[in-house]
């Protein structure tokens, strides 16, 4: 049997040899065996053949376990065969190969043993490290539901991305820095202008840039946990001018129209946006996001820098979505450009003008139930609020060298507000008028210099000027009893003027001591000058005379210099990152009334320590925690000695001086898994405590309310959020369970001379189930319970539970036709009547020509609910308010891509 095999094998070998011989004409076969001096075969010896002239290796092989080797050589001329084996002396043979030779050359090799010793340490390989690589890239098209129109709606579809009502985008809970288009950033934090207007269908890819570094100059020196988004556009859309347009009209004669035009090339990028709508859509989002960009936003001092209005009319928005509850007329036009004439210089200009008219209507019943008084007011309120706003921002970036940059950023904005409220208060007809004018301008200059690979220097300087004028008129003026002999007062005018100048200079030095250890030192100085004047004029209807009362006039000035020095260290270990920082502040300040000449200077010194820890236990478990002992200052409004009228029979004042409060904050965040694991769990706990705070000192009567401020002793805040996501593979459903708990408690407030401790608890529990079927139909169903509780001096004063349930059904008939049905149920707790409201909407979208024409039909509020009643707790009582909602309508919208 064995013999037979041997025969067969040798036959095959013979055939193979013949075959290869015929094929390899012109090749030379080199054969042999490698053995040691004792004749023992050496396996795995390396046999290589080099050209004599060049040393080029032209062929090589290894000996087999019997020490035999075969090599084929295609080359001719003088060749060198080298035989190497570990622990043996290398041997070389020179031979000549002529063209004609076709018979195998045979060379047996005997190697002498030679112990091998190689000790080479620190062979330094110098290979640059270039970073590149995207893991899993998501195609925008894959995430299109079909009914989204602007980028914002589309981003909501992306896993890990959340977009809140103001347009703020978060990626896995972290607020993003910016949204870039094809790698260029124009809007900074004001990205909502893009995300709220740009057509989603022109997006090719969304890229999440993690560990995003603002300045290339600081790369490797920053503790960058920042996240930015980059939207790449589809190639075919990048024409000289491109964009999108849409127009929609509904059965109530309301409309929305939008035009976006863009022109992008390397040197000049232009974006223009137009939006007009009466369908509850806010095309801009929060304007404050446009004001600063990048590191201008860094907190620079402990003194509050905001200029805030004293008076707010009743423009609170109800719990429902804007599209359900907002009655508006809004318009916006914006032009933006990035001009980059050379590699070293870049200029950005952002500008927009907008108007907004909002109608608020509500009917309220307000009950104030205090120990000795019980007040019940009714109000039928109707407010028309107009806001006009113009905004321009310029940013210039100059990079004189690879390691240096000079950046200027400045803005100018003017806001003009105009509101008129007509209302019936306890069966008396009344009016409120408000006008305000706000100017804000700010200029910042930053210089960054990368000194060496491990050091960088930053110098930042800035100037800010804000001014706000408010005029408020109420007629009739109800709280006349506060003023002796002024029963005849028919109306009152409150005028407020606030202004703020601030000038700052700061330098920061970043040192990397080793790759994992970074130290930052900073020092700076901020100068503030703040002014507030308030005046109340009482007009009598029997004469043209106006009256003033000295107890209702304020004139305050504040000047302060905040000098600070800070040091921060961050050390990264394999699994743990620790950071620690301390800021030292010296605040030298003076407050005075306008008629006082003497400025009494006072000063406060404080230390703000901070500690952070991040621990990646393993890929599934991560803990992050931090502790701060920080300081917050009171504002100039808190320094008012006298009352100012803020409407609704209410007067407010401060506590007469400037102060800084200290507080401890502790934060803990634990994550198990990430959002592509089957189980994802996240827990966040936040606790903060202040031993001093601004408490309320309220005097409440049936005719008027006096709200003052005083020092309170203790203030606590506890917040807990728990989220669990569990994917049930067998039934293709995901369960999401969320718990939010928020409790605040404070003591030291006084209501009608009675010391009161307040505690309020808000808790929300929600559960959601979502299907992931591959076919036509999918659903998502959920419910949340929102519990409110208010305690006065540890007695439960009010407690109620709201409920929201929803059922969304999706039917995707094809890529072109998609429908959605949404049913929502709201129950607002603690009411006598059945306070349940249902809203039903239907959506259908049809892509007439994909990427070009799309038509969308919306049938909103099919059950035609026109109002809902909401119960809200305040510090001192309960309000029951009837809000209007947008009645049933049918909307047709047509989208076209230019």
């Amino acid at each position: 049997m064995v013999k037979f095999y041997v025969r067969i094998c040798s036959f095959f070998i013979f055939i193979t040899c013949l075959f290869s011989a015929s094929l390899s004409y012109g090749q030379v076969e080199l054969k042999g065996s490698v053995s040691d001096t004792l004749g023992n075969p050496i396996p795995h010896a390396l046999v290589l053949v080099q050209k004599d002239s060049s040393n080029k290796i032209i062929s090589y092989t290894q000996s087999d376990t019997e020490g035999n080797f075969t090599l084929k050589i295609r080359s001719t001329g003088i060749l060198i065969m080298v035989v190497n084996a570990m622990s043996y002396k290398s041997k070389e043979y020179t031979f000549k190969v002529a063209k004609e030779i076709s018979s195998p050359l045979i060379q047996d090799v005997v190697l002498e043993s030679e112990p091998i010793i190689i000790k080479e340490i620190n062979v330094q390989a110098n290979q640059p490290i270039s970073l590149r690589g995207d893991t899993i890239s998501f195609n925008a098209e894959d995430f299109m539901v079909g009914d989204e129109t602007v980028v914002e709606e589309f981003l909501k579809n992306l896993p890990g991305v959340e977009v809140d009502e103001e347009g703020v985008i978060r990626f896995t809970g972290k607020e993003i820095e910016k949204v870039m288009i094809d790698d260029s950033d124009l809007f900074g934090k004001g990205y909502s202008l893009i995300t709220k207007n740009l057509d989603a269908r022109i997006i090719d890819k969304v890229e999440v840039l993690q560990k995003y570094s603002e300045s290339p100059r600081l790369k490797g020196l920053e503790d960058s946990d920042k996240v930015a988004l980059n939207l790449t556009l589809k190639e075919d859309v990048v024409k000289p001018i491109f964009g999108n347009t849409m127009v929609g009209v509904n059965t109530s004669n309301n409309y929305e129209a939008r035009v976006v035009l863009m022109s992008l090339n390397k040197r000049l990028k232009q974006y223009s946006f137009l939006n007009l709508n009466k369908l509850g859509y806010d095309p801009i989002g929060n304007i404050s996001h446009f004001l600063y960009s990048d590191n201008e936003q860094e907190k620079r001092g402990v003194i509050e820098k905001d200029v805030k209005p004293l008076i707010n009319l009743g423009e609170e928005t109800p719990v429902l979505d804007d599209r359900r509850s907002r009655f508006n007329h809004s318009g916006m036009a914006s032009y933006n450009v990035i001009y980059k004439p050379s590699k070293k210089f870049e200029l950005k200009v952002l500008s927009f003008a907008m108007f907004n008219e909002d109608d608020f209507e509500r009917e309220g019943v307000y009950k104030y139930e205090l120990e000795n008084i019980s007040i019940e007011d009714t109000e039928d309120y109707n407010l028309v609020n107009n806001v006009k706003n113009g905004f321009a921002r310029i940013e210039a970036l100059y990079e004189p060298a690879i390691n240096a940059e000079l950046k200027y950023g400045g803005y100018l904005t003017k806001t003009n507000g105009n509101g008129r409220a007509d209302y019936i208060f306890n069966s008396t007809r009344a009016n409120q008028y408000i006008t305000n004018d706000k100017w804000e301008t700010s200029h910042n200059l930053n210089y960054t210099l990368r000194l060496t690979d491990n050091n960088a220097l930053l110098v930042m300087g800035g100037y800010q000027y804000d001014t706000l004028y408010e005029q408020f008129r109420e007629s009739p003026f109800f709280p006349t009893e506060l003023f002796i002999n002024q029963e005849q007062v028919s109306d009152a005018i409150q005028e407020n003027q606030t202004s703020l100048h601030s000038l700052d200079l700061q330098a920061k030095l970043i040192n990397r001591l080793s790759n994992n250890f970074i130290i930052e030192t900073k020092a700076g100085n901020i100068f503030y000058s703040n002014k507030l004047d308030t005046d109340l004029l009482l007009n009598r209807n029997d004469s043209s005379l106006s009256y003033r009362n000295v107890n209702f006039i304020n004139s305050k000035k504040f000047r302060g210099i905040n000098t600070f020095f800070g040091i921060k260290g961050r050390r990264e270990f394999t699994k743990i990152t620790i950071s620690a920082a301390t800021d030292f502040h010296n605040v030298l300040y003076a407050t005075r009334d306008a008629d006082e000449d003497v400025e009494g200077k006072e000063s406060i010194q404080l230390i703000e320590p901070q500690l952070g820890l991040k621990w990646n236990i393993n890929t599934k478990n991560e803990i992050q925690s931090s502790y701060f002992f920080n300081a917050t200052s009171t504002s100039i409004m808190d320094a008012m000695d006298n009352y100012a009228f803020v409407g609704d029979r209410t007067f407010m004042k401060g506590f007469g001086r400037f102060d800084i409060f200290r507080g401890h904050t502790f934060l803990l965040n634990y994550t198990y898994g990430n959002w592509i694991d089957r189980l994802l769990f996240n827990a966040v706990a936040l606790y903060s405590n202040r031993n001093e705070h601004l408490a309320t000192q309220a005097h409440i009567t049936p005719g008027y309310n006096l709200i003052g401020k005083k020092l309170g002793e203790n203030q606590d805040l506890l917040q807990l959020n728990l989220t669990t996501d569990l994917y049930l593979r067998s039934v293709k459903n995901n369960v999401k369970v969320q718990t939010n708990y928020f409790a605040t408690s404070s003591s030291g407030s006084e209501i009608n001379n009675k010391k009161t401790s307040l505690k309020s608890v808000y808790s929300k529990y929600s559960i959601e189930l979502r299907s992931v079927f591959d076919f036509l139909f999918n659903y998502s169903i959920g419910s949340s319970w929102i519990h409110h509780q208010q305690l006065f001096n540890s007695n439960i004063r009010n407690s109620y539970t709201d409920q929201i349930q929803f059922l969304d059904l999706y039917f995707d008939f094809s890529r072109k036709i998609k429908t959605k049905i949404v049913l929502e149920r709201y129950y607002f707790g603690q009411s006598e009547d059945d306070n349940t409201y249902y809203y039903l909407d239907g959506f259908l979208s049809y892509h007439i020509k994909p990427d070009k024409w799309q038509i969308k039909f919306e049938f909103r509020n099919m059950l035609n609910n026109n109002q809902f009643r909401k119960y809200v707790l305040t510090d001192v009582g309960m309000e029951s308010t009837l809000h209007k909602t947008v009645p049933r309508y049918f909307l047709v919208t047509l989208y076209y891509r230019i």
Binding site: H44, K119, T619
Partner: protein, 262 residues
Amino acid sequence: MKRQKFFYLFVICTFIAVNSMAQTNGRAIYTTILESEDFKKLRGELIFSENKSLFFFNADTIADDDDYQSVNMQGPSTLDFEFSFGESLVSYHEVFIDKRKKEILSSERYYKDGKEHSCLTIEPTNIFVWNITDETKEIGSFQSTKATTTFRGRNYTAWFTTEVSVSSGPWKFHGLPGLILEIYDDEMGVQFLLSSIDIPFESTRKIEPPNSGERISIEEYAKYQSKLADEIVELIKAKLPRGANVSKISATQTNKGIEREF
């Protein structure tokens, strides 16, 4: 008869002697930089003899980073939804090459039914097709020669030296007429750079196959890897927020791994 016995005995003795002589072990340490490990500097250790080698990561000794330079000053470079499946490669990945059996055994992890499994993949040794050039350079005191190859989605440049006459290298790389001192791909997503070498070397670790998990063929492993994308898609879809309904998601897996395609 007695003689013969003696003779046999002698043969066996020589054989043992030869064998033990062949067991001259060496160790080479490679500074390893992998895209999949966030470009951290890792310490890869190769212990080898003529007929087998074992490559593993020295988990607790991430290479000394003091000379690390982030060269890229041109703004953001990495953009990704960061996925990390299970543990880092460093903690479990080992490659054993047996030249006698002509097979490569690697300890791997794969993802199936939402769970991670350990396995040992088997593949033949003849997976590399090298193209040796005549370019040379000095690495340390070694004269080394450049060779190139393409392997599972990456194009590599290797520098090997005939002065260390063993056909080994870091990870799965081997088959050149000498030890591979440096190997990196053209995107710098995989880099093994020799930092020290010791021959002979008395290792506390034996050069033997890793003993983790069931043995599967590389083809089967590749199949699981390609299913991974589908699994991710399902998990992502399930966690979308309310209101988002996605009909089709495709995750194109431009893998960061050393092996990007099979």
